[in-house]
């Protein structure tokens, strides 16, 4: 009997479905996302792939995994029901004061996102915990009861609590939660000391506010999902993809929606890890480019880089700082406001500029013929001949070449360049923007990006990846199969995983191992519970440990992976030496004689890596480079052979420049690169070592 697993990824535009059999056969489809009721699209996708495979729901006996944009949508649309925030008395404007920072020094017109929870639904309690954990003032029950009363008057069903220094001692927050549980069990309470127990009050308040705001949306959504799957005779409880690149049970996920924000993109990064293992390439960069943004993630030693903080809903010109910060573990994503729909223009300096304005999908690029008039990145690809007007989406959508050419004539005029030179400029500049973002991102993390292969997917990714690879000095670009539904596939190769962080500050010299042990044990207990709910067998549990440390007096930590549970041998000197080595690697110096401080303890609880794979092996005739079309490369019209992806066999070696077409995207490989097919079904472009270089 074939075992089947199912994955559904709901994105902004499409809902992708993948059904995978353990016989290696996969069934994929895409359907439009149904924003009014996301589950409608979910089950349409389910029906499409199960029908295609000819199986009934109860035959899906392996996992059902779900990645969803529901939380991000809720934050951007701001249509959620009213929620309340409870803060320490004297500090009621945490969400309004933020960090007192103007994120753009020169622009006097900047704006900030309105706080998710407004002043009129913010309450304060007279309570106080100090930085050393001492409770100076306990919570007064009467005050909490009054707040409960007001919440009921305002029909509030979800409450966030963030008290000063609760990262150190959450007992006052717990007290509030207990009173709510006794007196108002219908109100869901999110505690900052549970959701994000880390120092910095604004970050923690912002994070717990987002959680409280989205709980009333995710709980009914995921409950309905669980019920509907059961009603349709699916065997398993669904698993939900989290931002950190792990999956956990839907019920647990529904209480921590703030951890689901990067659900879809995280799945994309996980695919990169999957292929890094298949290719046995420990370090690579995933590169996903869509209509409005591009996302990249660095994979190191087969694992994605993770970050502790990120930002959602950037309100003002996509600028960092204009959105809401979140501090929970997440795949560390480089997000660039440049996609196929990004608009090219000429600025006051006479320089070509791309984005951040985007034509989106409505009206879209000029060539979509929906009324767009500004030259976009996709228009440049068409003008250059990389895309063909009659082959877009397998020919289902005719592109307006003439419109795009007119737009590029105009842009060229402003730059003093020909139509094709201007288009090539856009192609080059957009690739350079992504390469530059990758370089900065890598440096911030102390990583040498040079020589790392790229893994390209997303609608526009394969078009630009080879050029980006030139600019990041990558020797290899990998184009995986199922590129158009790759994130959904990613959820199926993702182990169950939850990342836990606790602030427990101490210098290395004064480390109290017994209290460290208590902290680690409570994290392991929480991790075990999450794994058990995700249906993981006990013998498959793994726990890995890490610390975030710094020299005493610094404000920013370096993450150190520990080889084992540090309580096993309590060796502070070994931790010191790991820190010093890593610090020197990242920053080129060692500060001898300086005290070292541990700030956070981290535990990752994970299940086994699932053993699933997919490839499509169907062969058809033709499309083997017999046909050519002119492409304007660096201003020179070159006849470039066109292949169909599914026509390429393992024995083919194709010299660049070449165009390889598949239904949802086009691969464009430059001269000096050679393409072959890998047994995994991926195509691989490799830079010839004796090549001429980028320019």
């Amino acid at each position: 009997m074939t075992r089947y697993s199912l994955a559904i990824d709901i994105g902004g535009t499409f809902t992708d479905a993948v059904l995978l059999g353990d016989d290696g056969k996969s069934y994929v489809d895409k359907t439009l996302t149904t924003h009014n009721n996301l589950l409608e699209g979910f089950f349409r996708g389910v029906d499409l792939v199960t029908e295609r495979a000819g199986i009934a729901p109860h035959e899906v006996d392996d996992v059902v995994v779900h990645a969803t944009t529901v939380v991000t949508n809720a934050l951007i649309e701001r249509k959620g029901p009213p929620v309340a925030l409870i803060l320490t008395e004297g500090f009621r404007d945490l969400l309004y004061i933020r960090e007192e920072h103007r994120y753009d020094m020169y622009d006097p017109q900047i704006e900030f996102a309105e706080p998710l929870i407004p002043s009129e639904r913010t309450f304060t309690l007279s309570e106080r915990t100090y930085a050393d954990g001492e409770v100076g003032l306990e919570v007064n029950r009467e005050e909490v009861l009054k707040i409960i009363e007001q919440c009921r008057e305002k029909d509030i069903k979800s409450v966030a609590v963030c008290f000063l220094n609760s990262y150190r001692n959450g007992s006052n927050e717990q007290a509030v939660s207990e009173i709510f549980a006794q007196e108002a069990p219908e109100i869901y309470v999110s505690l900052s000391s549970v959701i994000a127990p880390q120092m910095r009050e604004y970050l923690r308040a912002s994070t717990v506010a987002i959680n409280a705001y989205t709980v009333p949306i995710t709980r009914p959504y995921l409950t309905a999902l669980i019920d509907e799957l059961k009603a349709r005779n699916f065997r398993q409880q669904p698993l939900i993809m989290l931002s950190n690149g792990g999956v956990i049970g839907a019920e647990r996920a529904s209480n921590m929606p703030v951890r689901m924000i990067e659900s879809g993109p995280a799945a994309g990064a996980l695919v990169a890890c999957y292929f890094s293992r298949i290719f046995d390439i420990p370090d690579l960069i995933s590169f996903d480019m869509g209509g409005t943004t591009a996302k990249a993630c660095m994979v190191q030693d087969h694992e994605p880089l993770v970050t502790g903080t990120f930002e959602v809903d950037r309100r003002y010109r996509f600028k960092p700082g204009s959105g809401m910060p979140i501090t929970v573990p997440s795949i560390d994503m480089i997000e660039i406001g440049a996609g196929g729909g990004s608009i090219a223009s000429v600025n006051d300096l006479g320089l070509l500029k791309i984005g951040p304005e985007s034509a989106g999908s409505m009206p879209g690029p000029v060539c979509y013929g929906r009324g767009g008039t500004d030259p976009c990145v996709t228009d440049a690809d068409l003008v250059l001949g990389i895309l063909a007007a009659d082959r877009f989406l397998g020919g289902d959508m005719q592109l307006d070449l003439e419109g795009a050419q007119i737009a590029y004539d105009k842009l060229g005029e402003k730059l003093g360049l020909s139509r094709e030179q201007a288009a090539w400029g856009v192609f080059e500049v957009v690739c350079e923007q992504m390469a530059a973002a990758t370089r900065t991102h890598a440096t911030e993390r102390g990583i040498d990006y040079r020589g790392q292969p790229l893994l390209a997917f997303g609608g526009a990714g394969p078009v630009h990846a080879c050029m980006v690879g030139e600019l990041t000095e990558s020797p290899k670009v990998i184009y995986p199969p199922l590129a158009s539904v790759l994130s959904a596939f990613g959820t199926l190769v993702t182990p169950a995983q939850i990342d836990l962080v606790r602030s427990h500050v101490s210098t290395l010299g004064d480390l109290d191992w017994s209290s460290v042990e208590t902290v680690l044990e409570s994290m392991i207990e929480e991790g075990s519970a999450a794994l058990s709910e995700a249906g993981i067998r006990k013998e498959d549990y793994t726990f890995t440990h890490a610390v975030e440390m710094r020299y005493l007096g610094q404000q920013s930590e370096v993450r150190i992976e520990l080889p084992e549970n540090p309580c096993d041998n309590r060796d502070a000197e070994a931790i010191r030496s790991l820190f010093e080595t890593e610090y020197e690697r990242q920053y080129g110096l060692r500060l001898d004689g300086m005290q070292i401080e541990i700030v956070n303890w981290l535990v990752t609880a994970a299940g086994r890596q699932p053993d699933r794979s997919a490839s499509n092996t169907d062969m058809q005739d033709g499309g083997r480079g017999e046909e050519t079309r002119p492409v304007h490369i660096r201003g020179i019209a070159t006849e470039v052979p066109v292949w169909r992806r599914d026509a390429i066999t393992d024995s083919d070696t194709i010299e660049g420049p070449v165009i390889i077409e598949e239904r949802e995207t086009t691969i464009f490989v430059l001269e000096d690169w050679v393409v072959h097919r890998h047994e995994s079904g991926s195509l691989v472009a490799e830079k010839r070592t004796s090549g001429k270089g980028a320019n």
């Binding site: 960090e99 070509l352 020299y551 404000q555």
Partner: protein
């Protein structure tokens, strides 16, 4: 070079300074650098002209750093610089106007040749002497003066200088760590600039920098040429610690033909006996900020875009500090420099300016011994009031303007020092009313948890009168500074009793336009 090639190289340069700044911020010790972002990074060409700056920092630092590089190099024989050399100074007149700000400049070699310099200025946690505050009577009371010299020579630390610094500051570990961070960020910039040259087959960046600087200057002049020529006047009056009233008067002359602007400070207050005098480079930094942010904030900030803006400073003037005037708290006056200029520009580009705001951030430093008797000296921390309103938008509450720093989080301070805050929230209705209201200031209170006496250094301003409104808008509320409920106006460094409690309200921003 065409607009495409230049854009690609240009975004590479910006990437390099951003990398440099991020590295610096990550490994800095002083909370004011890491949490507050009180730093500047710039990349200079071989002629010491600033080509690119990081998108972090403060106008005061960035534009002062631009001047610091050429000042440092004028004082050394660049032919004799060798790989591994690193230059340093905290001379107020050569760099950012007070001793706390140390500028470090690393030559970038490509083979044997210098092709540029990587520079950074950061606010260090202590520099000996008086500490944070405006109470010193001359500059020598304010701390350690480091003339231009080598911090590293051929990669070897200047041990003499290191020993002198360590002995003369209260927080030697933090200062050494932060200097190390500056040196390290310079190394990163040097690596990256060479990698850029390798990637694009360049011998140096002279053509590139020439293009960028020329285009930036031309674009700035073109913007100015579109303005109506003439001389426009603006005055701002505010009170500083101790109650002294300062007047800044500007006559802004727009030469629409040549596309340049001259700002004359004639009629402004004379030098002060307090440490609030501003060196010309810092005045220049905030004056050019006012013009640039009003005319075209999207243009890059570099030697070219700054060139068309000239300053004329009277000889005896608070914004033209001369030796041996104390300058420690120069930001108190320096951060007001933009406002008279914005008032003048309001007559020219009313939709682009900002009404008067709370101006200088209020800075605080605490010193003492903790419960166990270990001495501590805090880094400076600062709080903002309300920003002035814009033509089409309200002023933002509790945000630093014109500077670009952040506040250090309460939890970070409470974990670092034995301080406990009693409140930190918005002071509602302190912003001036208007068609667009000014931003609100903040109510902030704190005390110590040591049971011992302690020292307090604060620099509040605008305790007598709040910021004015613009074009019919109402003014913002003045600030409040209380110790144990009593107003205090003399804010020199003071000895505090164990249970003393500080309470302050930072000023609100001015409104814009009359309320209907």
């Amino acid at each position: 070079m065409d607009g495409v090639e230049l854009q690609i190289l240009w975004s590479n340069l910006i990437g390099i300074v951003s990398e440099q700044a991020r590295a610096l911020q990550r490994i800095a010790f002083s909370p004011i650098v890491r949490e507050a972002g009180d730093l500047a990074n710039g990349l200079f060409d071989e002629k010491a002209r600033m080509v690119a700056q990081a998108v972090t920092g403060t106008p005061g630092h960035i534009n002062s750093l631009a001047a610091a590089a050429s000042n440092l190099l004028e004082n050394c024989d660049t032919d004799k610089l060798e790989p591994g050399d690193v230059l340093i100074t905290n001379d107020p007149w050569m760099s950012a106007g007070h001793f706390f700000d140390i500028t470090v400049l690393s030559p970038i070699f490509r083979g044997e040749r210098i092709i540029g310099y990587a520079g950074s200025t950061i606010h260090h946690s202590d520099i000996g002497g008086y500490g944070i505050g405006s109470g010193a009577r001359d500059i020598h009371e304010e701390g350690l003066w480091i003339p231009p010299m080598k911090l590293y020579e051929k990669g070897k630390p200047n041990e003499t200088l290191f020993q002198i610094i360590k002995r003369n500051v209260r927080t030697p570990d933090a200062l050494m760590g932060d200097l190390g961070a500056q040196v390290s960020s310079g190394m990163i910039a040097s690596d990256r600039l060479n990698a850029l040259c390798d990637r694009y087959g360049l011998d140096d960046i002279s053509t590139l920098s020439e293009e960028i600087i020329t285009r930036s200057e031309k674009a700035t002049r073109d913007v100015i040429r579109k303005l109506p020529g003439g001389t426009y006047h603006g005055t701002s009056t505010f009170d500083v610690p101790g109650g002294e009233e300062i007047v800044l008067k500007t006559a802004v002359t727009i030469d629409a033909e040549n596309g340049d602007i001259e700002i004359d400070f004639a009629g402004s207050s004379r030098p002060s006996s307090m440490g609030i005098n501003v060196v010309p480079a810092y005045t220049h930094a905030y004056a050019t900020f006012a013009v640039r942010s009003s005319l075209n904030p999207d243009l890059p900030n570099n030697a070219g875009s700054l060139a068309p803006i000239r300053l004329k400073l009277p000889d005896e003037c608070v914004v033209n500090a001369k030796y041996p005037s104390p300058v420690n708290a120069r930001h108190v006056v320096g951060m007001y420099v933009p406002f008279p200029i914005l008032k003048a520009l309001a007559q020219v580009v009313p939709d682009k300016v900002v009404a008067e705001g709370s101006g200088a951030v209020w800075t605080i430093q605490i010193q003492g011994k903790d419960k166990d008797g270990t001495p501590f000296t805090s880094s400076m921390f600062n709080y903002s009031g309300g920003m002035g309103a814009r033509a089409g938008k309200p002023g933002i509450s509790a945000v630093c303007y014109p500077t670009g720093v952040s506040a250090v989080p309460v939890e970070v301070l409470e974990a670092s020092y034995p301080i406990a805050f009693t409140c930190k929230e918005l002071a509602h209705d302190t912003g001036g009313k208007g068609k667009q209201p000014g931003g609100d200031g903040q109510r902030i209170g704190y005390r110590m948890r040591t049971g011992r006496n302690w020292l307090l250094n604060t620099i509040p301003s605008r305790l007598k009168s709040g910021p004015e409104g613009l074009l019919g808008g109402e003014g913002g509320a003045a600030g409040v500074f209380h110790i144990n409920g009593e107003p205090v106006s003399d804010t020199r460094k003071r000895e505090m009793q164990p249970d003393d409690e500080v309470f302050m309200i930072t000023p609100g921003g001015g409104g814009y336009g009359a309320t209907k």
